[in-house]
Amino acid sequence: MRALDRKLLRDLWNVRSQVLAIALVVASGIALLVMSLGVFGSLSTTREAYYARYAFADVFAGARRVPNRVQEQIEAIPGVEKVQTRVVVGVTLDVEGVAEPVNGRLISIPERGRPVLNDVVLRRGRWLDPDRAEEALVSERFAEAHGLQLGDRVAAVINGRRQPLEVVGIALSPEFIYNIGPGEFFPDPLHFGLLWMSRRHLATAFEMEGGFNDIALALTSASASTERAVITELDRILDAYGGLGAIPRSEQLSHWYLQNELTQLENMAFIVPMIFLGVAAFLLNVVLRRTIAVQREQIAALKALGYSNARLGLHYVQWAVAVVTLGSLIGIVAGLLLANGMLGFYMEYFRFPFLTYEVSVPSILIAIVVSLAAAALGAMGAVRSVASLPPAEAMRPAAPESFRVSLFERLGAGKWLTQPARMVLRNLSRRPLRAALSIVGISFAGAIMVVGSAMMDSMDELLEVQFNIIQRQDLSVSFFEPVKRSAVHELAALSGVMQVEPTSGVAARLRNGHLQKQTAIQALAPDARLRRVVDVDYRAIQLDRPGLVLSTLLAEQLQVEAGDTLVVEVMEAARPVREVVLTDTVDDLLGVAAYMEEESLRRLVRRDDTISGAMLKIDSQAEERLFGLLKAMPAVAGVTLRSAALKNIQTYMLDNMSMVMGVNLLFAVIIAFGVIYNTARISLSETSRELASLRVIGFTRAEISSILLGELALLTLASIPLGLLLGYGMIAGAMSAFESELFRLPVVVETNTFLVSAATVLGSMAISAWTVRRKLHDLDLVAVLKTRE
């Protein structure tokens, strides 16, 4: 090994704790980058392979009842490659040992052969025997949640009759990777499951013989124009059979959600790592500048010996590269481990039959290139100072640093300062840029903590608003088909029911020029108390004017504002097409929706006074009995319990967020420690002669510690408010980035979050201070004063 390389290694070893502190900051950034890209790559690849292998469809449509012969007509649409027709119905299920209502979706599979589209993956057990009516395949997460084994029985309530079904297989489908029940926002495998049944038996049970109510298509080309043309034609054909409007794959719920998640991962992949690498570049720069200052005579001597500027510049670039390489290696390993953990978590919520784990080499290369860029950035200015150092300097000791009276003192506050305080201020004001960058660096640590726990705050707020202000019912009931309004009275008569409010809605397509959106318009009574629409301040909005109210996001997608007119194509009854005025928009937190006052909606649809479901407030004492009664009602297709939904989301959050919080805490401490510790070590190196001299003339250890630690404390304290502000800004940015049709998180930061953030930063300072103080105690007075520098 060359002597100069040996010098490099020994120099690095001498400042190993600083090197490690910086390397860990680099490692955090790289780990996040590798993790995000790794998870993104693995999930995308896995999804594509899954879709391809199990023939995920391109277009989806539902209808009331379509005769089988229409299938040929659909197959004949230009651009259609394959057609899969099915019978799909929602039912309530009766699972042993579970009193609460459980909803199920029954999906038909062909008697012979496998589905041509939206195929089913058999995980365990066997395929259905077409001759036996009472067999079903059950979705995997549902089976796991209920501990269902092959041979176990589940009862589906069909037309008020319990139809026992034997579990002969456990299955998955690319159509339900993310699987949520009607009216839900999160997957809840305990309360919603999929059951596949033989087409003939399912059709018989629901009077669907000779027909179907669900269509999936594969297209010959992926072009948007083909897709649009096919959807238009399919809608035209289904019009006569109560078509509910066809949607492209991009709007299919499971796909849409997964896509959303992937986009988020991809966006996250670069932003946060850049913060870490930026801080690392700053630290490298500061430490390298200091190293070069200490070694200026060595550099001059090396120049005098005939080493060129380029060679010596390279020497210090290697210094930075070595630190970053160490960080990258740690980061890559940690990133791969984190990616593994994250994938495990995703596999729990998104079920795939296999995982193509992509240890994506490009993502690692990207990580390395990016970190080297950080090294170059950090080394840049420092190396330039090496080149400009004249070799004759080797002959001369360095001139004393120039100091000036700090601004604070110039303002006249100086007379109250003790000498140590004066030294602290002058040290800081000598290098104001560095002090400022240190403050910014530390503030990122605070900001990361704010972002982490503000996520929790926002989620709490969301749940509070959604489940206490907007949805105040204990449970909601949906019917197979619209029923007479008098059903409200039947429900109210059940014992334990305290309050009933009808719900009804129509499937509709909203159009503004070429922009259109498939949705359901919910009818709301002007005096609704259980399900309400609220404004920004969470006050109930009175729906007493005829006209449409839309979620802000939906209005934005359709590019309409209050006062504009929309075309509403009703997909039910006489299928009227009307112009309706948008009267208002609301900032819905969960989901997007369209609302109308019930009387106006009824007039718009021109149908009888029917309802499609009801909201109930119940007496918790009578709960269990009531569940039994509801399940037995033939008209009831599903029952959703608010408390169960809430508990499910909370469990999810606890799982997800505690992991995120742990990782965030670690990263915040790394970044705070990295900046504070390095700042402290450099101050120590710059002032050790001064401090040693003070010790010699009689200052105590505590007194000289206070000079150094005072500087640290000042920087840290200044960084806290900045960190909180920065964190608030970042969380607001993140929330608008996360905003989707599924949920919109309110920007809420609780006082506690600020406290946790400040405490983390102060804690990191305490650790750094303690480490440096030990160095200070070990200060070898004789050695420090003897060395020339």
Partner: protein, 249 residues
């Protein structure tokens, strides 16, 4: 300039071409308002194999002169040539090459790399030189064969200075420039260091210039030059050259 490619030109013994030639060299340091004239018109020739001692009071410009000869610093005005090549016109790259190929430096403050051992400090030079001594040979020349693996902090000032000399001579330099090599040393150590320098001068025929405050050292020189206030005040040949060991301090 092409100092780097200039090799020792065959010289006639009667009129030997000088190794260094300085003509009207001045050096002015301007520090804001104040101008310090470190050298005021120096004319000087140094010849092949000559052992020159530079004397003079503090601030008289000795170090400045030596730095300019060694290509560490540039003259403000005047001409400096090394074997006919113009140093005063040379750029940064050419000066680096000149230092690397031809010059050995010994600094007053040793300037060893603290993180490298004696052997490695010398290797620093032998690795980039053409046809050098091995670090072991160079350290043996200064009597430090047994201290190869010691770090500067583990050696005395005299030992460090001898490592610095070994580092300077290891490349078999054409010229050896020493700035107060014995300034910080006691008598016997100083003599050991001077012996090492004298040995290189005699054995390898290296043109040598040594700055000192100690006039006694003049006894071992071929030539003694005194500087005063940036000018050459005196330039004498020493007829009775003594070995370093015979110097009376």
């Amino acid at each position: 300039m092409n100092v780097a490619v200039t090799t020792r030109a065959p010289t006639s013994p009667a009129h030997p071409a000088p190794v260094f030639a300085m003509r009207g060299v001045t050096k002015v340091y301007s520090m804001g308002e104040v101008e310090v004239h470190a050298l005021r018109g120096v004319d000087l020739d140094l010849h092949e194999g000559e052992f020159t001692v530079l004397l003079g009071p503090s601030g008289s410009g000795k170090s400045t002169l030596l730095n300019i000869l060694g290509g560490l610093d540039a003259a403000t005005a005047g001409r400096v040539t090394y074997r006919g090549g113009d140093l005063s016109e040379a750029g940064e790259r050419a000066l680096t090459r000149y230092r690397r190929r031809h010059v050995g430096f010994v600094f007053q403050f040793y300037n060893l790399i603290p993180s490298l051992t004696a052997h490695e400090n010398v290797a620093l030079v032998t690795e980039i030189a053409h046809d050098p001594l091995t670090p072991e040979e160079a350290l043996a020349l200064v009597g430090l064969k047994h201290r190869l693996d010691h770090f500067p902090s583990q050696m005395s000032g005299g030992e460090q200075q001898r490592v610095a000399i070994a580092r300077a001579i290891a490349k078999r330099p054409d010229v050896l420039l020493c700035d107060e090599p014995t300034g910080a040393l006691d008598i016997s150590t100083g003599i050991a260091v001077l012996e090492a320098i004298g040995k290189v001068n005699v054995d390898l025929g290296t043109t040598t210039a040594v700055i000192t405050h100690n006039a006694a050292i003049s006894a071992m020189a071929d030539r003694v030059i005194s500087l005063a206030d940036g000018q050459i005040a005196n330039d004498v040949r020493n007829g009775a050259k003594l070995p370093a060991s015979a110097i009376e301090w």
